[in-house]
Symmetry: C2
Subunit: 352 residues, 2 copies
DNA sequence: TTGTACGCGTTATCAG
DNA sequence: CTGATAACGCGTACAA
């Protein structure tokens, strides 16, 4: 029923050479093998459709051709793009990618790290949620190469691909200020993660610089696994801010999902975006451009982050002991149409 | 610098037993080992933080603890959810998941199949784009277990988790008809894949049943890798249909992305959805609910598809030779607010 | 240039 | 119950 897989021994027999010779030819070793045998072995391998067993090879050489990626959830478009970038450079380096959804659960994260170590994986890209670094530290000492993305991970021998959240927050708020806004509210889910805090800090930076009073609306709910969580939070926070007596002319949301919720709630209440209230998001996921109006947002380069993280990791794996360095990706503003310019002469314009 | 990994031999030495005993204890073999040794071995393994080398185990047992998943692109939210479901059941079965983005390229698909075979992977879930089944056939004969999703794959020994696209097309069109629409246009990207053709057939079924004339607008462009491709196509096809002289009161798009494009273009032209023209999508991705108006659409159960495919695969892997069977997932309508009811008395209503 | 023999870490078989 | 030994498929000293 099941065909038995063909090994180098089988081929050796057919080609009337030793398994060693077959190995040398088929693994492209630089060990000298005569032209004639080379061709004979290759031809036969081709004929019998030889599929090498990487397990044997890897066991012998203590290598691995797969890398691990641990992220909160693949269902989040941001991480989808990160992975997409990683997978691309992995393939270019003849490696496969194991995906691990930590679901923000430190225990799951640990389980995954353990698993990939058992698989003898030598490279890991991780957006770590855990506080406890002992296991990871241990694995690094055992030869695991680690690149941290998104979440900071200060640890010896760990490269980081970071993103300047604070500057991102600054840029978003600054844009609104430049467009003439003075009452600018910042809506955010719980400020419990450093990245979130930093965006907020950037917003405050810009406000203080312009001598404006920050208006903060923070969700008090803990995380939830619903993928529409941020959307719902956006709606709630809008209701909260509008009934609080504040009269913002602009709202800055801590991520795009939440901005979608903001726009949705405003529209539902008959408030026009951007004519009545302007909205700026954070992330730059593609769906923002499909909204009406298209969302102005601060772009966090997801795909590039993946590619860079992959590049850093493979540099380490290749042992090119170029000095380890961190990368700090810079934010940029994607200007679409959810922000109204209040400074222009056309204050009366109510076009539609 | 690098600590040397600890093997069962090291533990055997420390516990003054044979490696065989250590193996029997640590791999939870049902082979009898005295209680005393059991504990001694376990304690030491714990102490030295033993991490088993799965490569050795797998090589010996000709097993694998990883499965492969080949899909067009992880960046597509539909497939993100499929993978999410797969990964969940894989983890429950102590397996890891290798992700492969075929990018709709048959050659890439083949490369990936070859790669996972080299890794001795025994299970594959695939949304195949290739016409040529010879390689896959070969791998199955070599012991690969295959479950096909999304795209049909008629081949001996391959389970399929399908989706009734035709019924989905029928349901979507039927809904519009029931709401009193008569001029219903169907907008689709190139009808080159069976799934696309089937949705269209379902639409035609419903139209003919109601003695209505189908109105088809098909994109003639070939696939593109831009992830906003369908969105742009939706916009283009709307312009095409509106300038063609047709006056549809409703538009049925072959997927949600395209429906987003449709709504966007209509809004841009000052045409109100659903008051002037109703829109129905296909897929049921979450972003549809964030639009204004929220998109009425035909739900294709992505997450469930992933879980089911995973379940089927592990049933096969466990050799529970329950008879192989295909699963055909049924569509359902998610009624939101992008469709106007034309039958009601409130024909005059122009509410907003 | 080619072949022989051993080891990577694990488990299965067989003898004690 | 326990231990020695031979594999799994491959790469590589070492010998020829």
């Amino acid at each position: 029923m099941l065909k038995k897989p063909i090994t180098i021994h089988d081929i050796a027999e057919m080609a009337k050479v030793s398994p060693a010779t077959v190995s040398r030819v088929l693994s492209n070793s630089d060990y000298p093998v005569s032209k004639g045998l080379q061709e004979r072995v290759r031809r036969i391998a081709e004929e019998v459709n030889y599929i090498p067993n990487m397990l044997g090879k890897q066991l012998k050489k203590n290598e691995s051709t797969t890398i691990g990626v641990i992220i909160p959830s693949i269902v989040n478009p941001f991480y989808s793009f990160v992975i997409f970038g990683i997978e691309e450079v992995a393939r270019a380096n003849h490696h496969t990618v194991i995906i691990c959804n930590s679901l923000q659960d430190p225990e799951l994260e640990e389980e995954y790290i353990r698993t990939i170590m058992e698989q003898q994986v030598k490279g890991l890209i991780i957006s770590s949620i855990s506080e406890d670094r002992t296991l990871l530290r241990n694995c690094i000492d055992l030869g695991l190469n680690v690149v941290a993305i998104d979440q900071a991970l200060e640890e010896e021998n760990v490269c980081q691909v970071k993103f300047d959240h604070r500057k991102g927050g600054y840029i978003g708020a600054k844009h609104l200020i430049e467009q003439g806004h003075r009452q600018i509210a910042y809506l955010t889910s719980k400020l419990d993660r450093p990245s979130r805090k930093n965006i907020y800090r950037g917003y405050v930076d810009a406000m203080q610089e312009a001598k404006l009073e920050p208006i903060l609306a923070e969700s008090d709910e803990q995380r939830s696994d619903a993928d529409t969580y941020d959307f719902d939070t956006g709606r709630k926070l809008v209701r909260k801010i509008l009934t609080s007596g504040e009269q913002p002319t602009a709202i800055f949301a801590c991520n795009d999902m939440m901005a979608f919720g903001v726009i949705n709630e405003l529209s539902s209440q008959g408030i026009n975006v951007p004519d009545d209230i302007s909205v700026v998001g954070f992330d730059g996921i593609d769906f923002g451009m499909m909204l009406h109006p298209p969302l102005t947002t601060v772009k966090q380069p997801d795909y590039d982050m993946g590619k860079l993280a992959g590049k850093l990791l493979f540099d380490k794996l290749k042992g090119e002991d170029a000095p380890f360095y961190d990368v700090v990706l810079q934010p940029s503003l994607i200007e679409r149409r959810s922000v109204r310019n209040l400074t222009a002469i056309n204050t009366l314009e109510c076009a539609r």
